[in-house]
Symmetry: C2
Subunit: 493 residues, 2 copies
Amino acid sequence: MGDNEFISSLDSIFYPKSLAIIGASSSLGKWGQMILSNIMVGEFRGKIFPVNPKKKELYGLPVYGRIGDIPLPVDLAFIMTPAKTVPEILSECGKKGVRGVVLITSGFSETGETGKNLEKEIVGIARENGLMLVGPNTMGIISTYADLFAIASHTMPRKGSVAVVSQSGNLGVQLIHWSEQQGIGISFFVGSGNEAMLTCSDYLEYLEHNPRTHSIILYVESVGEGRRFLDVARRVNQKKPVIVLKGGRTSAGQTAAASHTGSMSGEDSIFRASCRQAGLLNVSVPSELLDLSAGFSSLPLPRGNRVGIVTLGGGWGVVTADACNENGLEVPKLPDRIVETIDKYLPEFWSKGNPIDLVGTRDREVPIVAVEELLKWDGIDAVISLGIVGRLELARRLVDATRKVDASASPEFLDRVENWSQKYEDDYISKIVELMETYHKPVIGVSLTQTNEGTVRPRDGRQYSGVFYQTPEDAVNVLSRMVTYYRYNNRRH
Amino acid sequence: MGDNEFISSLDSIFYPKSLAIIGASSSLGKWGQMILSNIMVGEFRGKIFPVNPKKKELYGLPVYGRIGDIPLPVDLAFIMTPAKTVPEILSECGKKGVRGVVLITSGFSETGETGKNLEKEIVGIARENGLMLVGPNTMGIISTYADLFAIASHTMPRKGSVAVVSQSGNLGVQLIHWSEQQGIGISFFVGSGNEAMLTCSDYLEYLEHNPRTHSIILYVESVGEGRRFLDVARRVNQKKPVIVLKGGRTSAGQTAAASHTGSMSGEDSIFRASCRQAGLLNVSVPSELLDLSAGFSSLPLPRGNRVGIVTLGGGWGVVTADACNENGLEVPKLPDRIVETIDKYLPEFWSKGNPIDLVGTRDREVPIVAVEELLKWDGIDAVISLGIVGRLELARRLVDATRKVDASASPEFLDRVENWSQKYEDDYISKIVELMETYHKPVIGVSLTQTNEGTVRPRDGRQYSGVFYQTPEDAVNVLSRMVTYYRYNNRRH
């Protein structure tokens, strides 16, 4: 199959004009109900054809007995009927001219010898019929730009540039849920399932050419064609960061993986060494996948490891400086020029160094002045800003407490303070994003609190987004990995 | 000073019957306003005497011109007037018979030579007058069982058994805010500030004897009397876990700490080695302080490192098993007896191993059966349970989506499903807490999602609480540190 044909086939999976749901249902909690309701709530703009011989109508849509009964063309079929029904349905899909199949059904190679044989059989049928197969045993796909949310969990991340490919469906779906909570923009999700036909390497090749996707998250337990995977991943990673979590690194993890996907996950030390050689971003825990994707998708790359720190309190400056040094980042001494500029805003005894400790100032300007002075200076490559965004919640509580105890306080005045705090936080984020566009250096925020607003705070029409991690260690880890990525891709050959 | 006298002095700080706020104010955002409003909103049950020569009344309370004008006894004084006014005010406090002073005011040793001398002077005055001094340059104190919330941030953690002592006020206050968000119960907070008189070691000695406090969080940048600190901490740690974060471990962190507290933070490798010898729980990042305190304050100690894992999906089982092995925990093979019991509940092809993968089952009983079977078995010391608590949010979304698309669905039925999901989660937590009380082994939960319910989920009248971390790596880290603590305190001498 040529490159163009391959891409066009996968386009019919990820950008279908029409889709059939074979096994659609109205029974709450059944796969056929969860996927159908999710696709409808997500407002998929193409045609939706539920298929179920026992139904006439579902959610206001006409239902077809078999896929062959659908009077219009079908690009993509979701199948969730029992394993033994799948061979015949695939043949019917072929006759109907379907190009892509997302095979939710489980009970194939993950269940033993009989399942393995059935899986071989359906791959044969799919090949004969020109069908591209996602799965089987997949939790589904998401294609945000097609408004297609075809997973069982009703979680809808915003449109963005991060693609998620996961060999574990439930881990992948949870990553998508975290993306939604953290405000990380997603282009695609695919649970690759048993990878009977399409593999991680195939999805990587597809995403390599996808203009909406700028970074890729990958959860793998075993890689069938290890050589090809590393070749593809290395090539893609030069264009778009590939962030990899490998499950089954230890004997306990390998035992678990063997019973999970039925495949051996191989020697971890070799996998890690290969990833390092290929410049991939190898991580150890799922939350790191999200942290890194938030940074890579929202910030300019740092061109070196020198960090300026701006903090609202001394202790946070200390722990951030420690974290920097422990992660290979430098915290250089400030030039006199910057100290003199900041002198104009702060009490005489301020830190006069890096970290710049704003000593709990309420001055509106100096946090931005400090960040911009650092960005202007060619002695630093990135800024970490702690505690400006996140203060809003405590300001709100102060206002609430004052409302309770101070009968003489003007309600209008208190409302104004609250609105002002909200606006200050919004303006600060906008200004940070502008500064990143001006100076092409990342400014990583730390909110120091669990907020409902999420990690990524996009601004309309802007290339970059505000990024505010809850803890300094997360910000430092991401920055350190971005430096590594930049250096690998800009090393002398 | 004898032990009893020392404890009684500190009791007058942490359990005062009456307090004066010298520098009380109604100007929103001033220290005197934030502390006064917070104490009032927290419903302190003792007497509150605001002191300010320019006011007659504040928030409905009579205001006194000087502390000497107060007609009733005063146990504790908060002072937030400028540094130069402090010597005279301290003398007046002495004459009034005050026993404890929380000196919020800054501008002492942290600002240079003049400040250092002023600090020496006030310590002399406090000694002459029998005053115990917290600070100066402190962000205040909290004593939850006295309903005393005397910090500038309006954050009110629930009553509990964790005490927080921090040399950095703003870091400490943020830890308290996190405690509130995560549901971690707090007994005390003290920002030790410049430690002109009372030091971390003193607070540790006080907490050693405090029956409400079962574990202690400590953030330190420098320890004045290193020998005494380690002796005290070692002794206390044998009774109550002492969890320590040392700021200024690196050259960047030390530079930051020097400009912050004006003190050198010393050699980190020596500090860490001393902590290890003393069996203290040394951590690297602030969030770990909270994670550990949640576990130590809510769960029985594991008596070994063998872990049973129960998961709703294979991928999470794999990453949890990996994290266990990478943190020194074993994931033993299950005996046939347990496999046979679980066989009755799950499809034929379930994992039949540890992790026990419940394969997305909706069976109500099997998650609890699996946990109890593991706890009964003498081959494991702890259980990690993934994904039961946390599923509620996704259940709610499924119900919401169905409400939107399914005109024929019964609203009562959908309400019932939602209520049932809520009740199932609540019942599960209660059952887990009961099982911990029966088997005296910890069950650590992982919610796999950011919830608003917090990490710690207490049950009325129960010794233990449900603990649900967002990620498996946090659960595994805490469990691993609990094993280390248990082993240190139960080693053969």
